[in-house]
């Protein structure tokens, strides 16, 4: 069993890295809040044409979710090949399902 217990000397360095990482997370969070506000404002003010609103909202959501996955859930870090592979496979299946249900249920 891998008992990885001899890493005390990397600790201060690691601590620093964790801190930098945390700063990035904060920026991410700020951006997410910003996107949320933009989305709500667009809808609340009705400032945009209906045809554009939905794609814009969806794009904003997708970017936010990418932030969640890559920063908050660390998918950008190494050791996440399998998780991202499966997540993408799941997302693909999800898109197919939604397309199927939305496009060809009523005709």
């Amino acid at each position: 069993m891998a008992e990885n217990t001899n890493s005390n000397e990397v600790n201060p360095y690691q601590k620093h890295k964790n801190k930098l990482e945390m700063q990035k997370q904060l920026i991410t969070f700020a951006l997410m809040i910003l996107f949320t506000i933009i989305a709500f404002v667009i809808v609340a003010t009705g400032m945009m044409q209906k045809m554009f609103v939905i794609p814009v909202l969806l794009i904003l959501a997708v970017i936010q979710v990418a932030f969640q996955f890559y920063y908050f859930m660390h998918m950008k870090e190494k050791g996440h090949d399998m998780p991202s592979l499966m997540m993408y496979a799941g997302i693909m299946a999800a898109l197919l399902i939604i397309a199927g249900l939305v496009v060809i249920t009523w005709w």
Binding site: M1, M82, M86, A89, G90, M92, A93, L96, I97, G100, L101, V103, I104, T105, W106, W107
Partner: protein
């Protein structure tokens, strides 16, 4: 517990051992036993179907009962027989093939089994409690939402519970294969059966949630008054069809891919040749799985989705013939130039090739939309899917059982009985189902309780029924063989077939820690590599040391039992308020067990080096 495992124990001790086991090899036994039981049940239902259809306007069973039997036959065979039997083989063999001591989540593995078993039991309890589900294994709404009685409720809860078990099993296999391979066992050195286990698990992971949601919607409509499929309130019944087939089509590849994998292993072992086109085989598997997710609407060609959707799904469906063809030809090429031994395992594998090819070809024929307007929901489709399911999955399970029986139980199935069973079953199978292609085209729809006189369908149906009896005889001989072998079967050495892959490098049956020392893998077909270029046995990758093992636990059994009780609560709360008691008690048991599981540390135990050394080789 470690050493005493081989000693004779009382019945109670054995029972307790199996109830609490987290050892994948014992869980495999449980799966095989449970799956075998349900296979007999499903087979008996099939026989009733065939007896009812032996002559026109027969009245062996009533119309309502026929629909129940037909539904339970399909549901039982697919969810409770074929899949568990495959999961059993995977549990028995896959960890050995990749050189792992254990699976990634032994506790969840056991939970998966018990969920399956209790799900199956709840489903079959319907027979005793006012009637089984009767809307077909596809349970199309609104027939299913308006079906009187509780039959369909049992379907919903039974499948929900056993489906959860399967999903858990799938995740367990995925992580096992990714994290627990022996040193040197790269992905591209994994035996095909392990590969297909891996891909099958991916399919399970992404297909079963669709079933889960479908069943939830059905359950809400039936038990809690929602309106998903209630057209009067704006509901749409096509949503169920979509959800069911989004799950249902990948499901059929869940059934066939493991069989493909084990045939690959069997062919290369008994032809004494390396698998031809290994890389292509792996990628064909992946491609089949990938395409399998975008073809579901080929079950819905006549729903009226429009020519665009129909065409797209038809072409996507046909495309699957290409990777499958690659597999067929690679198997033939593996045999080509080999030195072929034909024994029972190999007979089932050889019988598979023409049978499955026929079934696959009728698959492509039904994929041709306008032709499917004729085939759909007729016996042509019944013939198609029995050719692929029985000719692929059932033949595969039987081949796998013959092949791995010595590994699992240390005894070899009787060859003579095996061959007789094969020939009788094989003849019966083609007799039963070949004629059904024509019955379908001659105007016999499926799910028909009776067919009328003077429609030219009599002879065909009679032949079909005769064939089914031959199949039953074949199955009975097989089970006789199992009993016979258990009582006085021949003991065999660890590696009776001159095997190529790692499972044959362990003892038969394997010790509960599988490998005393994790083996070092030096190529594809690792044992074969050692046989031709090494000492003839695996080189250890580590010095002898303590082995960490998980503790057994009764919790999975209790949790599943809790859900079982809660299931009845859900069903009967519609009629009786007291039913909330089992509902809450059952869910309480489940949550309580989960809490115990997460609060109580379970670090497992260690088999020390000394113990291992004491265990004589």
């Amino acid at each position: 517990m470690s050493i005493a495992a081989t000693q004779k124990r009382g019945f109670g001790a054995v029972l307790w051992d199996y109830l609490t086991t987290v050892d994948h090899k014992k869980i495999a036994h449980l799966y095989l036993f449970g799956g075998g039981f349900f296979f007999i049940l499903g087979g008996l239902e099939a026989m009733i179907i065939r007896i009812q259809l032996v002559r026109p306007e027969n009245d062996f069973v009533s119309a309502g009962l026929y629909n129940e039997i037909l539904t339970m036959h399909g549901t039982t065979m697919i969810f409770l027989a074929a899949m568990p039997l495959l999961l059993g083989l995977m549990n028995a063999v896959m960890p050995l093939q990749i050189g792992a001591r254990d699976v990634a989540f032994p506790f969840l593995n056991s939970l998966g089994f018990w969920l399956f078993l209790f799900g199956g039991l709840i489903l079959n309890c319907s027979w005793l409690l006012g009637g089984a589900p009767d809307a077909g294994w596809t349970s199309y709404a609104p027939l299913s939402t308006t079906s009187p009685g509780h039959g369909v409720d049992f379907y919903v809860l039974g499948l929900q519970i056993s489906g959860a078990g399967t999903l858990i099993g799938g995740i367990n296999f995925l992580v096992t294969i990714i994290n627990m391979r022996a040193p040197g066992m790269t992905y591209m050195r994994m035996p095909l059966f392990s590969w297909t286990t891996f891909i099958t698990s991916v399919l399970i992971l992404f297909a079963f949630p669709a079933l889960t949601i479908g069943l939830f919607l059905l359950m809400f409509d039936r038990l809690f008054g929602s309106a998903f499929f209630n057209v009067a309130l704006g509901g749409n019944t096509i949503i169920w069809e979509h959800l069911f087939w989004i799950f249902g089509h990948p499901e059929v590849y869940i059934l066939i891919l493991p069989a493909f994998g084990l045939f690959s292993d069997i062919f290369s072992t008994f032809a004494k040749k390396r698998l031809f086109g290994y890389t292509a085989m792996v990628f064909a598997t992946i491609l089949i799985a990938f395409l399998g997710f975008m073809v579901w609407a080929h079950h819905m060609f006549t729903v009226g989705l429009g020519p665009v959707a129909n065409s797209i799904f038809a072409i996507a469906t046909m495309a699957i013939a290409v990777p499958t063809g690659i597999k067929i030809f690679n198997w033939l090429a593996t045999l080509w130039g080999g030195s072929i031994t034909i024994n029972s395992a190999m007979l089932w594998a050889l019988g598979f090739i023409p049978t499955f090819t026929l079934g696959g070809m009728t698959g492509v024929m039904v994929a041709s939309v306008v032709a499917d307007y004729q085939y759909h929901d007729t016996y042509f489709v019944v013939a198609h899917f029995h050719y692929v399911i029985v000719g692929g999955t059932v033949f595969g399970i039987l081949a796998g059982l013959h092949y791995w029986w010595p590994k699992m139980f240390g005894r070899i199935l009787n060859e003579k009985l095996g061959k007789i069973a094969f020939w009788i079953f094989f003849t019966g199978f083609h007799l039963t189902f070949f004629i059904q292609h024509f019955l379908g085209l001659m105007g016999m729809p499926r799910r028909y309780w009776v067919f009328l006189k003077d429609q030219g369908l009599d002879t065909g149906n009679l032949i079909s029924t005769i064939g089914a009896f031959l199949m039953a005889i074949g199955v009975i001989i097989f089970f006789y063989n199992v009993v016979y072998t258990a009582v006085k079967g021949e003991k065999v050495p660890d590696d009776p077939w001159d095997g190529r892959t790692l499972e044959w490098a362990t003892s038969s049956p394997p010790a509960h820690y599988n490998f005393k020392q994790t083996p070092l893998v030096r190529g594809l077909d690792p044992l074969w590599v050692e046989k031709t270029e090494g000492k003839g046995k695996m080189t250890p990758a580590e010095p002898l040391g303590d082995i960490h093992m998980p503790n057994g636990s009764i919790l999975p059994f209790i949790m599943s039992f809790g859900l079982f009780i809660a299931g009845f609560g859900f069903i009967y709360q519609v009629n009786y308020t007291w039913a909330y008691i089992p509902l809450f008690v059952g869910m309480g048991i489940l949550l309580g067990c989960m809490l115990i599981r997460s609060l109580k540390d379970d670090h497992g135990y260690h088999i020390t080096k000394e113990e291992l050394e004491r265990e004589a080789d």
